[in-house]
């Protein structure tokens, strides 16, 4: 019997039991769905990770009291007893680094601030930075309108502010020029001197919802005791690693550490962040893979179960086919194809729904939709394997039925 005929016969049988075929298919669909959805989402997010996590400017790293454990499980408690990095230490560090380093920025921040202008106010979700003139370049911001902070703003603790694009949009919706306007942040007045250019979102979170004031003013008026972070920008990629080494030494001296003391501060680099994301991604991938694998094995057992029921139900049909001359091979092929049909249909449904679901994540993060081709191919291969492996035993059983006994059954 030709393959085309076998396919037609198999299709007839599946159509006759539509509900059952669909239900069996769903098992496979769920398994494939979970892996494809997760992989699509991860791959979509992955593309923006390098840029999204690289919130620091190029050749830039940061020194902080706490590590940037975005995705890890380390608690803050291990680090809480470290002494804060003070503004004075920051200044000393700056001196020690000397002219070798392009720019060194000192900054401190807190979240959950509200800004008010005229009768408009923002949500209390603005990040307020106390910083110096190097904040913009070290953090990859450009000034769109007005000016940056200057040394004298810091020296005299001026009550000036640069606002992010989100703050601008909320407080000045009519396109009014915000420069030289007075806004109130947490009840204190600031004069706007500049606006940052739009930076966009990373991981669905806006990076433009911020206000920057001179660090000296921040420490004097808002939070006297707060650990600052130091942003260092190396002159070039070539000098990046050397600059990191030098900075660690300088910070140890600034913090008064002896040679025996361990460093009581952390280094945060773009690479480290991306690496910690990759680790998170790997963990999720392995998890999704294990879940999918178990779901697919369960689905495979379901297919086998249904195929065995089908063989039992259709014993008479098998008898008839054998009596008119069907060889074992073609009975076997028919049942195998049915199992393959079930698992592949489930696989295709899982791929379509999974890729769609994964891309919903992509759209939510403002990322271009993608098709995880490699995983689609793997899924199709795995589904074919499952159809064949779990269809083999029922098909074998059908093919080896004795025609006399098969014809004698009631159905």
């Amino acid at each position: 019997m030709k393959l085309r005929e076998t396919v037609i016969q198999a299709a007839y049988s599946l159509r006759a039991n539509k509900l059952r075929s669909w239900l069996t298919t769903m098992g496979v669909a769920v398994g494939v769905f979970s892996i494809i959805a997760v992989m699509t989402a991860l791959q979509a997010v992955d593309r923006s990770v390098a840029s999204g996590l690289s919130s620091l400017g190029s050749n830039t790293f940061e020194i902080q009291k706490y590590p940037a454990t975005f995705f890890g499980g380390h608690g803050r408690s291990r680090f809480i007893n470290r002494p804060d990095i003070t503004y004075e230490e920051g200044l000393a560090f700056k001196n020690l680094m000397g002219k070798k380093v392009d720019r060194i920025g000192l900054k401190v921040s807190r979240s959950g601030n509200q800004a008010i202008y005229a009768n408009r106010s923002t949500n209390p979700d603005i990040t307020l930075f106390g910083a110096d003139e190097n904040f913009a370049s070290a953090n990859g911001f450009d000034i769109e309108n007005g000016r940056n902070l200057v040394k004298n703003d810091i020296r005299f603790s001026r009550n000036v502010a640069i606002i992010g694009r989100d703050v601008l949009n909320t407080l000045f919706p009519g396109g009014e020029n915000p420069v030289e306007k007075q806004i109130k942040v947490n009840g204190k007045l600031y004069r706007i001197i500049g606006v940052f250019m739009n930076k966009g979102a990373a991981f669905g979170q806006s990076q433009d919802n911020l206000i920057v004031i001179p660090i000296t003013r921040y420490l004097a008026h808002i939070d006297i005791k707060k650990s600052i972070s130091v942003t260092v920008e190396a002159a070039s990629q070539k000098e990046y690693q050397a600059t990191i080494d030098q900075a660690i030494g300088a910070m140890r001296i600034a913090r008064g550490l002896t040679i025996k003391d361990p460093s009581n501060f952390e280094l945060r680099t773009n690479e480290a962040l991306v690496e910690s994301f990759r680790e998170f991604q790997r963990t999720i991938s392995v998890g999704a893979f294990i879940i999918s694998f178990m779901a697919l094995v369960t689905a495979g057992v379901g297919i086998m179960n249904i195929m065995l029921v089908s063989v039992t139900e259709r014993t008479k049909e098998i008898g008839v086919r054998k009596s008119v001359g069907a060889p074992r091979k073609s009975i076997m092929r028919q049942f195998l194809l049915e199992a393959l049909f079930l698992s592949l249909t489930g696989g295709v449904i899982g791929i379509v729904v999974g890729a769609s679901a994964g891309n919903i994540v992509a759209v939510a993060f403002n990322l271009p939709p993608i098709l995880p081709l490699a995983w689609i191919i793997i899924s199709i291969a795995v589904c074919s394997g499952i159809g064949i492996i779990f269809g083999l035993f029922p098909a074998y059983r059908a093919a080896n039925l004795n025609p006399v006994d098969a014809l004698r059954t009631g159905k």
Binding site: K2, K316, V320, V324, G325, A326, P327, K329, S330, L407
Partner: protein
């Protein structure tokens, strides 16, 4: 040319039932010529079903020889038997045994599918066979949409489609009323006149009367083998 279609010599078929051996067929010597029209009769348990299974190559004898069309069937494996059934034998069953989900045309062409005939020729031959049994206007009906007599005619069309050497009918009228039975038997008579070899398994005397040779079985042995008087 040898006119013998089937030859059985000291053919036995035993079944093991627990520790007991049942002799379903016990030393059968029998032969049929081409174009014979035979009725095999006997009460239930006489071995006529077993004999039919062996003649139809659905089963093989425990011992003895069985030759169909000059080929010894005794030692064949499942797939070889399937090939013989496909080429040499057309079955008509008491319970019709059509596939309920397929329409008449697809039921009738089934043997040709396994013979590897392509779709176009299958269609033509299936249509032809259905027309021969008077169902040319029912080709796309499913068995559930037909009467018992019509279903059995579809089954006969299926049995004819591969031009078999032998048509084997197992109680073909067992599930039909008297007048429908008469119609079906008329078709068999016509097929016999057209040169087909037909073996009919039945326990009904009046159905057997349509044939020209009567073989009676009892307890796995041939009780009698008589020919009908030639009618002038």
């Amino acid at each position: 040319m040898d006119n013998t279609l089937i030859r059985m010599e000291s053919l036995c078929r035993f079944y093991e039932m627990g520790d007991q051996t049942v002799k379903a067929l016990d030393n059968i010597d029998l032969s049929f010529n081409r174009n014979e029209y035979v009725a095999i009769m006997g009460p239930s348990g006489s071995g006529k079903s077993t004999l039919m299974n062996i003649i139809g190559c659905l089963d093989t004898p425990s011992s003895g020889t069985y030759e169909l069309n000059g080929q010894s069937v005794s030692g064949m494996d499942d797939d070889e038997l399937a090939r013989i059934r496909n080429r040499e034998i057309g079955f008509v069953f008491q319970t019709f045994n059509l596939l309920p989900r397929l329409d008449c045309l697809r039921n009738v062409e089934l043997p040709l599918i396994y013979a590897g005939i392509d779709a176009e020729e299958r269609f033509d031959r299936a249509l032809d066979a259905l027309e021969r049994v008077g169902l040319g206007d029912r080709v796309n009906h499913k068995p559930s949409e037909l009467s018992g007599g019509q279903i059995q005619r579809v089954a006969i069309a299926r049995a004819l489609i591969n031009n078999p050497s032998l048509i084997l009918a197992d109680e073909p009228t067992g599930n039909l009323d008297t007048s429908t039975s008469r119609d079906i038997m008329t078709i068999f008579s016509e097929l016999s006149e057209a040169g087909n070899t037909i073996i009919l398994i039945t326990h009904e005397e009046d159905i057997a009367q349509y044939t020209r040779r009567f073989i009676r079985l009892r307890d796995g042995k041939i009780e009698s083998d008589t020919h009908a008087p030639i009618l002038e």
